[in-house]
């Protein structure tokens, strides 16, 4: 592997890792703060991709599609939280598993009814469709850099929100001791609704910005969901920092595995997870 190729794979790995982080962050926040296992998290990713495709063809602008789609996903998250998830925060994990599994069926079939079962592709916006030449015949698409950039901006935003703002302080307090926080006059139900909506929006936006390079297809959420589980297990449930580090690790291992060890590349990530489980059963950054 020469330097240019190595650089391309490195960028791909980081970009994939950052995308996984967007999903895993929501998953780990929703579990860490509300104690809910959400199997339907991958469905939000799929819905995001379909939303980007239909909104982009409707409005003719990918940027507008993302802005409108993100707003819709926040709304969707709030409604879903109010109607269903709110009642499951204190329920058994088994009930949460079944509820969210049922939701996967509903979302998949809803997608099939609204958008059909065809595979679609989303046009990369003209502004970002260029490639940066690395050598005479190798180049790197600007759009992938843009994706990584969006993920980094959102990751920093999430970090600032949680550790530097008043709302973030309430979120952290609520995760630490729910009853005490409530007794101090914080509207914990509102906090939970906001956290849930943030998680849904992150997953949906991830699906939207990934749609031009991954194409849009049925069941695209389930594979990414498993990868997120691996990320969350390695990083430690409830830890956003752990999710970031482990998402990058998983992204790099998966990408370089496909190049260097193609025969077992599908297994590598799981081997990594197994090794972490032997060493630290609670994940690397369990809080």
């Amino acid at each position: 592997v020469d330097l240019a190729n190595f650089l391309i794979q490195l960028l791909n790995g980081v970009q994939y890792g950052l995308l996984l982080f967007m999903l895993a962050a929501g998953l780990t926040l929703i579990f860490g703060i509300m104690g809910v296992v959400n199997l339907a998290h991958g469905s939000f990713y799929m819905l995001g991709a379909y939303l980007a495709w239909s909104l982009a063809s409707l409005t003719g602008s990918f940027t507008l599609a993302i802005v409108v789609g993100a707003a819709l996903s926040v709304l969707f998250g709030l409604v879903l939280e109010r109607l269903l998830f709110r009642h499951f925060y204190k329920r058994d994990h088994l009930d949460q598993v079944l509820l969210t599994f049922g939701l996967i069926y509903i979302f998949e079939e809803g997608r099939s009814i609204v958008w059909g079962d065809d595979v679609h592709s989303v046009q990369i916006p003209d502004l970002l469709s260029a490639s940066i030449p690395l050598t005479d015949n190798l180049s790197y698409p600007v759009y992938r850099l843009f994706m990584s950039g969006v993920c980094v901006v959102l990751a920093i935003g999430l970090y600032l929100l949680i550790s530097k703002t008043r709302l973030g302080m309430k979120i952290r307090a609520g995760a630490f001791n729910r009853d005490m926080t409530e007794a101090l006059g914080v509207n914990i139900k509102l906090i939970h609704a906001i956290v849930f909506a943030i998680g849904v929006a992150l997953a949906t936006v991830a699906g939207m910005i990934a749609s031009p390079i991954s194409s849009v297809y049925p069941n695209m959420g389930s594979q990414v969901l498993i990868m997120c589980f691996v990320v969350v297990v390695i990083g430690g449930i409830g830890s956003v920092r752990g999710a970031l580090i482990s998402a990058l690790l998983v992204g790099l291992v998966d990408t370089f595995g496909k190049v260097l060890l193609p025969h077992i590349s599908g297994m590598l990530v799981y081997m990594l997870m197994a090794a972490v489980l032997l060493w630290k059963p609670e994940g690397l950054f369990r809080q």
């Binding site: 296992v37 088994l94 079944l98 599994f101 969350v232 489980l277 059963p281 994940g283």
Partner: protein
């Protein structure tokens, strides 16, 4: 967090109902059509699968979302062991296929039973998907299309190609597995597993090596799931990665929940009820331009959500709760 009190000892009325159910299963091939007899045989196979999961879910309190991996693995083992030109013997392919599932469960169990709660759910699901993609991505292992099982296993003493014989062979195994698991439930081993569900720390403080017990339960459950998977592959004549997918695992959980956890009888009832519903949803009529049956996933999804929201302890639990409400409140506190 998990429901601690299980209905382990079945009341007399339920025992009678089960005996009647067994009688109905025994005479069914003479009453029903061949098509329905095959469907009932399939339900019995899934009932064995659901019981194997109940050993983890209901008895030991381990919520495994990857149980289908062991179900599918032994089906694949049968597909690989069956030569293309002639049937292989039941008497070595069955033990070999079950052993393959048990071995996989032992290895995967070694990693997963050291985790707890939500980690266990996620990790079992992740490892099962690893197995799924191993078969899905490799053309040599059948790829996404799967593999045909050209013959029914050759049993010498009886002919499994005969559908009625296969039906009774499955029924015998269903009864055998049920009897075995009921014995196991009240054995010292089963009592330790129930103790782990209720309070693992206390069991460890009392000197039980809970890791070994949980690993043994995981392996045994994997082996029994393998038995069911072998039967299903033999019955249907093909295997595909779907058998190992997490939808199959989740369906098995739904079966156990529907019937009621921790006594194996509930798992059987749940498996029959769930499969029946699934078939009903898929066979829904077409109303005008709307093909109701095509959207079975929507109905199944709504049904599952409705069960979790309104009847979290299964259908039997819902009936139970309705009866509970009529009782004076002093007796309700037991719940």
């Amino acid at each position: 967090m998990t429901a601690k009190a299980n209905l382990e000892t079945l009341p007399r009325t339920l025992q009678v109902a089960l005996a009647l159910g067994l009688l109905a299963l025994a005479v069914f091939p003479f009453v029903g059509t061949a098509f329905y007899a095959e469907m009932v045989a399939r339900m019995m196979i899934l009932a064995i699968f659901a019981m194997s999961l109940d050993l983890l879910l209901g008895v030991t309190g381990l919520v495994s979302l990857g149980h289908a991996a062991f179900f599918g693995l032994s089906g694949y083992a049968l597909a690989f062991l069956m030569p293309a030109a002639e049937p292989a013997s039941l008497w070595w392919t069955l033990p070999a296929a079950v052993a393959a599932s048990a071995l996989a469960a032992l290895v995967i169990g070694f990693f997963v039973v050291r985790t707890h709660g939500i980690y266990f759910i996620m990790v079992t699901m992740a490892f099962a998907q690893m197995v799924f993609y191993l078969f899905f991505d490799n053309k040599a292992l059948g790829g996404s299309d799967g593999i045909y099982v050209n013959f029914k296993p050759d049993a010498r003493l009886f002919d499994l190609e005969n559908k009625r014989v296969f039906y009774y062979f499955t029924l015998a195994l269903l009864v055998g597995v049920y009897a075995f698991l009921r014995r196991l439930l009240f054995s010292p081993f089963g009592r330790v597993l129930a103790g782990i569900r209720i309070n693992e720390h206390r069991m460890r403080a009392m000197g039980y090596g809970t890791f070994g017990y949980k690993l043994a339960a995981f392996t045994l459950a994997g082996a029994l799931a393998g038995l069911a998977g072998y039967l299903l592959a033999a019955q249907s004549g093909y295997v595909n990665p779907e058998l190992m997918g997490f939808h199959t695992s989740a369906h098995a959980i739904m079966m156990v929940i529907l019937g009621g956890m921790g006594n194996f009888a509930g798992a059987i009832v749940g498996a029959f009820a769930f499969e029946y519903l699934l078939e009903t949803f898929k066979d829904l009529p077409t109303l005008g331009a709307v093909q109701l049956g095509k959207h079975w996933q929507l109905w199944m999804g709504l049904f599952i959500v409705a069960v979790v929201v309104f009847a979290p302890r299964g259908l039997l639990g819902a009936i139970d709760r309705l009866l509970w409400r009529r009782l004076p409140h002093r007796e309700r506190d037991l719940d």
